[in-house]
């Protein structure tokens, strides 16, 4: 990396500082030293190796923060590794990721947390913030050692992939987490209601002969967890919201002042259960893709602020695992390399302003997690994503940097993509 980089004439969008205008950014020795609107010239010291990036016509965002990903290491390196996963994230304009604990062994103790961070230090292309398990082995029975994991680097706790079935344990987790003031991230699913289900329950599941997961499975758990958060004062974050009912419950809870935040994923506002037709295992995901009604409600929830964050739930799987009977195939979408483009559709469609969108993928998750990321404030390390809103490209999963090629968006033409990512002192130019 050169000593200094000057990004010129880009449209800077940084909700953490309320910036939404054309300007320049100066980076010196890896850190942001000046952010200026066009009115005043960026002054920089005379450096031998000044690199200038002409960002005219492009947007400049803080590097994206993705608070819900699966990097699969340790234990499932055939699906993804910290090395391949973080590289794919950077390609998607993402510079900070939070990896879920459903590895093997489960990240339910500080040794695993330390392993993940050591691996990231050695091989990671972006920042990795581990999420620890709420309960030992994600079994939902005994609390994991939260404060010790927090000390080792965990920023939140979740049994993602599995709900905490026992209301008592969930209550205890929310209570205990107050000592750290970190969020408990809840995968909301009433397992008895969704038993054996592999797609959204409704006419289409009846038509395809697939067992359904009713919206009530998610809504019932969201309601329970909101009530428990209210009872305990613990910070609750609802993962991957997929239903109209969840949005409604969250809106009501926020009006009451409950300490709850929520995220959704690009697939839940882009496609419906119709993507499963033909028994397409690449559209099998949990929670399942729902109906147009739910898609519309989620967009409205994003627009009115009920949903704070967009995360990918990047869930890579091996090709052989998706090349199976629908029932047997694992759930998940490899999301890093399409997420930002799918998010930008919300701006193209007029659902969100650019500034609203950027907040949900940078500063909002950083704030929920209490991490120093998702901002272009001076003195921060330069984690920057430069985006071309008008550049079109065809999604070709075979060319993903992620090991997971499992996406229902293969072959889609998307408009808007990250063209340059700056992360950990490296400049990646994806245009070549």
């Amino acid at each position: 990396m050169p000593d200094a980089i000057l990004i010129k004439n880009g449209h800077i969008v940084d909700p953490s500082q309320g910036i939404d205008e054309v300007g320049d950014i100066l980076i010196e020795d890896g850190k942001i030293t000046e952010v200026r609107s066009q009115k005043s010239e960026v002054r920089h010291k005379e450096k031998e190796s000044l690199r200038t990036i002409d960002a005219a016509g492009l947007y400049i965002f803080p590097g994206l923060v993705d608070m819900h990903v699966h990097l699969r290491e340790p234990g499932f390196e055939y699906k993804e590794t910290i090395k391949t996963g973080t590289m794919a994230a950077v390609k998607g304009g993402i510079t900070s990721v939070c990896c879920m604990p459903n590895t093997n062994p489960v990240n339910d103790n500080k040794t695993v947390t330390e392993f993940i961070l050591r691996k990231t230090y050695a091989e990671g292309s972006c920042y990795v913030y581990p999420i620890g398990a709420i309960t030992k082995g994600q079994k939902g029975e005994e609390l994991a050692e939260m404060t010790m994991m927090h000390e080792a680097g965990c920023v939140a706790f979740s049994d993602d992939g599995r709900p905490v079935t026992s209301s008592l344990i969930m209550r205890r987790a929310l209570e205990y987490s107050r000592v750290l003031n970190v969020p408990i991230i809840s995968h909301c699913e009433d397992m008895s209601l969704s038993e054996g289900g592999v797609m959204n329950e409704g006419r289409l599941s009846a038509q395809m002969g697939l067992r359904g997961i009713p919206y009530a499975s998610e809504d019932a758990m969201v309601a329970r967890d909101i009530i428990l958060s209210e009872l305990t004062g613990g910070r609750l974050h609802i993962a991957h919201v997929s239903t109209e009912g969840s949005v409604r419950l969250l809106r009501q809870a926020k009006e009451r002042g409950v300490k709850v935040t929520a995220e959704t994923c690009p697939h839940y506002f882009t496609i419906t259960e119709d993507a499963v037709k033909g028994y397409n295992t690449n559209a099998k995901v949990n929670p399942p893709l729902r109906t147009q009604r739910d898609v519309d409600a989620i967009k409205e929830g994003l627009r009115d602020g009920t949903i704070d964050v967009i995360a990918t739930d990047h869930a890579p799987h091996h090709r052989d695992e998706k090349l199976q009977e629908f029932d047997k195939s694992p759930s998940g979408i490899s999301g890093f390399e399409t997420a930002l483009s799918l998010c930008l559709r919300l701006v193209h469609e007029g659902v969100l302003t650019m500034s609203q969108l950027v907040e949900k993928i940078t500063f909002a998750p950083a704030k929920i997690l209490g991490i120093n990321a998702g901002t272009l404030k001076v003195d921060n390390y330069a984690d920057i994503t430069i985006v071309d809103m008008n550049r079109e490209f065809k999604v070709e999963s075979e060319n993903f940097l992620s090991k997971g090629k499992n996406t229902p968006f293969d072959g889609w033409t998307l408009k808007g993509m990250p063209v340059i990512t700056i992360c950990k002192g490296k400049i990646y130019d994806w245009r070549s």
């Binding site: 006419r203 038509q207 395809m208 002969g209 009977e325 029932d327």
Partner: protein, 304 residues
């Protein structure tokens, strides 16, 4: 057409072609020598990942009547128990150069998945709770034999619609032919089929009124105690077909059942053995229909 994965995927014309062809094969089955050389040299593999006696023997006999070479593959003796993926199993079988794969599998959509990945013709012999197309075809064939046509008939389908691939395929088929379809059963066992122009009755007496055809479905014992209905005793009381209820249908109504029956649970013995029951004719017609399907998929009819 390469495969028969479901009735959903067939047009009315294609169904009529199969039924007409089955008629010719039924004539052959009445002859003294029932075997024809129609598909000599073709190889069929029967891949049953779920136990089946009736459907498998029916297919096997139909295959033999057509002079094909038949290979049977069932799970307990297969490499599946050794952990081979279905995809690899199928690719291995395809490498033998088979022309037809007749398959039954407990996961819905598996024949569709296989059909996309092999050159052989795939015939769905029942997938999960999705479809059992040849059963619906033989049911339609049997009804037409008795009633002349399907148009305008009132047909009651009674029982566990939710888990019945037979019911699903029948609904898809009959809804393409202007049939008044009535689904009868407990609310826990009736899925949302409103796209297919059906009427739903929880009261059996009401639903049976003036029916031309009563299709009874098998109640799977394992549904009991899982909250779908309280007991087989209560089930029979509410949704079992006995002589009193049979009289609510039209005088010349026929009773059908895909087998195997649970006598005294969904159907009483006197109904099953009555003159109105065409259960055994369904079995005979199954042969003719399955021969017709294979013959048509082979493309030999086009060359003839």
């Amino acid at each position: 057409m390469k495969d028969l994965v479901g009735i959903k995927e067939l047009s009315r014309n294609e169904i009529e072609l199969i039924l007409n062809t089955a008629s010719s094969f039924k004539d052959i089955l009445k002859r003294d020598i029932k075997k024809v050389p129609a598909l000599r040299g073709k190889t069929v593999v029967n891949l049953f990942f779920e136990p089946s006696t009736r459907t498998r023997t029916s297919f096997e006999l139909a295959e033999k009547r057509l002079s094909t070479d038949v290979l049977n593959f069932s799970v307990p003796t297969s490499s599946v128990v050794k952990g081979e993926s279905l995809f690899d199993t199928i690719k291995t079988i395809e490498a033998y150069g088979v022309d037809f794969i007749v398959m039954r599998h407990s996961s819905s959509g598996t024949p569709h998945f296989i059909a996309r990945n092999v050159n052989a013709s795939v015939i769905n012999a029942g997938d999960g709770i999705n479809e059992h197309p040849t059963q619906a075809l033989l049911d339609a064939f049997s009804i037409i034999e008795k009633k002349g046509s399907l148009e305008g008939l009132k047909i009651a389908i009674v029982g566990d619609i939710l888990h019945s691939r037979v019911a699903k395929s029948n609904i898809y088929l009959l809804s393409k032919f202007g049939v008044n379809i009535r689904l009868i059963g407990p609310p826990t066992l009736i899925p949302d089929m409103t796209d297919h122009n059906v009427e739903v009755f929880y009261e059996m007496d009401e639903g049976l009124k003036d029916s031309d055809v009563i299709m009874m479905l098998r109640i799977q014992m394992e549904r009991q105690g899982r909250g779908f209905f309280p007991s087989t005793l209560e089930y029979f009381k509410n949704w079992g077909l006995d002589i009193r209820r049979l009289k609510l249908a039209k005088k010349d109504a026929v009773v059908m059942h895909p087998g195997p029956m649970n006598r005294g649970i969904e159907i009483s013995s006197d109904v099953a053995d009555s003159k109105q029951s065409i259960i055994l004719e369904q079995v005979t017609n199954g042969l003719a229909v399955r021969m017709a399907v294979m013959y048509l998929l082979s493309g030999r009819s086009e060359n003839a």
